[in-house]
């Protein structure tokens, strides 16, 4: 049975902050197909197009029929633990600091046998549910957990290393003026976040939902205008060292492409409110979060961006918005690489049109803010890196993977 997590005591401000260490990092280029699957929360393995056998680890030819037509595809995620090993004094610094650490050999229902990290409730002979997870080094690893829910299952020490569960963590929601920001606050509260800081820009301007937000227990309103450099750095100076999960809810959606929009001031606004806001946040909060990646139960663990799925391919009806989102997606990859030494993950949550004011004229399906927020928290709990929430986002993901040029043409019609 998993020991339930205890709410961490306040940190002794005189204690040294332990520096993050990382598990081994190298993977082959082919194995990064596993990275892609793990990032999206899928369990995928190489499968032979000729004979249909799954194979692992990644290789160039099918070990059964020698065909070289090996493609990654989603595999059945059941398995049985053949044997388990507990590492008491590992040679690797990351694992040594976390010892004892349990791993096991799992015979997959898909065929191959895999070395996997074991959930504390999964023992030799048990049937397990396999997943690919992104570890602290950003690399895909196999994880075996019980097939059915066990008490306090998500509090498992090894599982928590693979995820960014908000439980007992301190969260900054950067913009609480919007319905998205407010729903994220609610979802974080439900997930057991200990403190939720909520940024409010231009406090002189009232906003819908303000009274309810201010009345919410466990919520601390902080002045934050992410479009403004000084405001962002001032807040980071105050609370930067307390942020375990940062959810960038900066949001500025305006319709329109290039040719029918007069002047550039709306575009400058879009860049300021989205791209520059992200950049200010990253420069202000990123360094201290990276430094706090191993700071106990409530260490810095994740950075979340909410991005439009049209960051992948431009939707001319919201053309300039799409372009700014593409810039933010690119910046998120830079941030991900730079936060990796701290073991802090960057999760991008991709959405289609939202059921909010600025997508008023767009026909359904539109993503409800509530669904976005709960999907975001689910992504953190499962340790995702790329979460596609809603039918539109998932459809665009598939079309982009299949043929980016076709997607471009079709969005432009």
């Amino acid at each position: 049975m998993t020991e339930p997590l205890v709410r961490p005591r306040r940190k002794n401000p005189l204690a040294r902050t332990r520096l993050p260490t990382l598990p081994p990092q190298w993977r082959s280029r082919t194995s990064h197909e596993l990275t892609r699957a793990a990032a999206e929360g899928r369990f995928a393995l190489q499968c032979c197009a000729a004979c249909g056998h799954f194979t692992y680890p990644a290789r160039d030819a099918c070990p059964v029929c020698l065909s070289d037509e090996l493609v990654f595809k989603d595999a059945p995620h059941g398995g049985t633990v053949l044997s388990e090993t507990t590492l008491h004094i590992p040679a690797d610094v990351y694992f040594r600091e976390r010892a004892p650490w349990r791993i096991g050999l799992v015979k997959l229902d898909a065929g191959p046998t895999m070395v996997a990290h074991l959930h504390g409730d999964s023992k030799e002979g048990d049937t397990v549910r396999m997943s690919l997870q992104i570890d602290k080094a950003g690399q895909p690893v196999a994880f075996a957990q019980p097939q059915t829910e066990t008490p306090h299952m998500s509090d498992d020490k090894q599982w928590r290393e693979m995820t960014a569960d908000p439980k007992f963590r301190r969260v900054l929601v950067t913009n609480g003026r919007t319905v998205i920001g407010q729903e994220v606050v609610r979802a974080m509260k439900e997930a057991g976040a200990s403190i939720i800081f909520v940024g409010i820009a231009d406090a002189w301007k009232p906003f819908p939902g303000e009274a309810a937000l201010r009345a919410m227990e466990g919520v601390t309103i902080v002045p934050l205008n992410t479009a403004d450099e000084k405001s962002t750095f001032d807040l980071a100076a105050d609370i930067g060292a307390k942020i375990d999960i940062l959810v960038n809810t900066s949001e500025h959606i305006r319709g329109g492409g290039l040719l029918d929009r007069h002047g550039t001031s709306t575009s400058v606004d879009e860049i300021e409110q989205s791209y520059m806001a992200f950049l200010h946040l990253a420069q202000a909060f990123g360094p201290v979060m990276r430094m706090r990646g191993a700071d106990g139960v409530n260490s810095a663990v994740a950075w979340v961006n909410i991005l439009s799925v049209y960051a992948f391919a431009n939707w001319p009806q919201f053309g300039q918005y799409s372009a700014v989102q593409a810039a933010c997606l690119s910046l998120s990859q830079c941030l991900r690489a730079e936060l990796r030494p701290g073991g802090v993950r960057v999760m991008n949550v991709f959405t289609g049109p939202l059921d909010t004011e600025w997508f008023q004229t767009v026909p359904p399906p539109k993503l409800a803010p509530r669904v976005l927020a709960t999907g975001l928290v689910r992504g953190l709990k499962n340790g995702l890196e790329d979460a596609f929430i809603g039918d539109v986002a998932e459809e665009v993901r598939q079309r982009f993977a299949a043929n980016p040029k076709a997607l471009e043409r079709e969005l432009g019609q």
């Binding site: 002189w204 450099e229 405001s231 001031s265 400058v268 606004d269 300021e272």
Partner: protein, 259 residues
Amino acid sequence: MDKSPLQDFAAAIASGKVRIVDLTFTLSPDFPVIVLPPEVGQAMPMRIQRISRYDDAGPGWYWNNITLCEHTGTHFDAPIHWHTGKDLPNNAVDTLPPQDMIAPACVIDCSAEAAKDADFLLTVPMVEAWEAKHGRIPERHWVLLRTDWSKKNFRDYANLKEDGAHTPGPNAEVMRWLVHERGIIGFGTETIGTDWGQAFHLDPPLPAHHYLHGAGRYGLQCLCNLDQLPPTGAMIVSAPLKIENGSGSPLRVLALVSN
């Protein structure tokens, strides 16, 4: 050497006989700007981006880039700002006659009325009552509306409600009257605009802008320290930046007051 009026003036400043009152708010990113429906173009608030601060980007010096709207912070409105003044000669801040940048002011104190009613409207009879006490408003004078609005916190200062801004200002008739019957050079307020908070509903909408700029006159807004000015006799120095074809400009507004 002949003693010129300017030498007397310099001596008066040095001796404190002439006091200088700063009527300007600090240009900060937090200062409220005019709020319009979000689908139309917006005024950019003050943004300050550091270039260097004795660091690797400039080891020995500190400086910033700034971006802001022509109508951010304490600012000047030129006639070209409004459709009524668009065809007038010399209607932009770069062609504004320099002699218009220094002019005397009449200060109408409505702070008691504004304290009671955020929707306080200045009317002709009120200005006539002021004239009965202080004399007729001379031509080419500024009329400054003192409401003590500048002393409020930013939220109360903007005072945005469900139906928009609620801040004191002039009605339509008093603006027509001040411009055409009194020939004022301009009208100044402590609030975010020269017009009343709900002035979209007046006839014509936004009458201060309509009448002032239509007659080639000016606006000053987001003023402070009007409580330090006498009803008459203060001299206003308001020189906007020389922005090419600029519709207005943030500026430092100074009042010279004789002690």
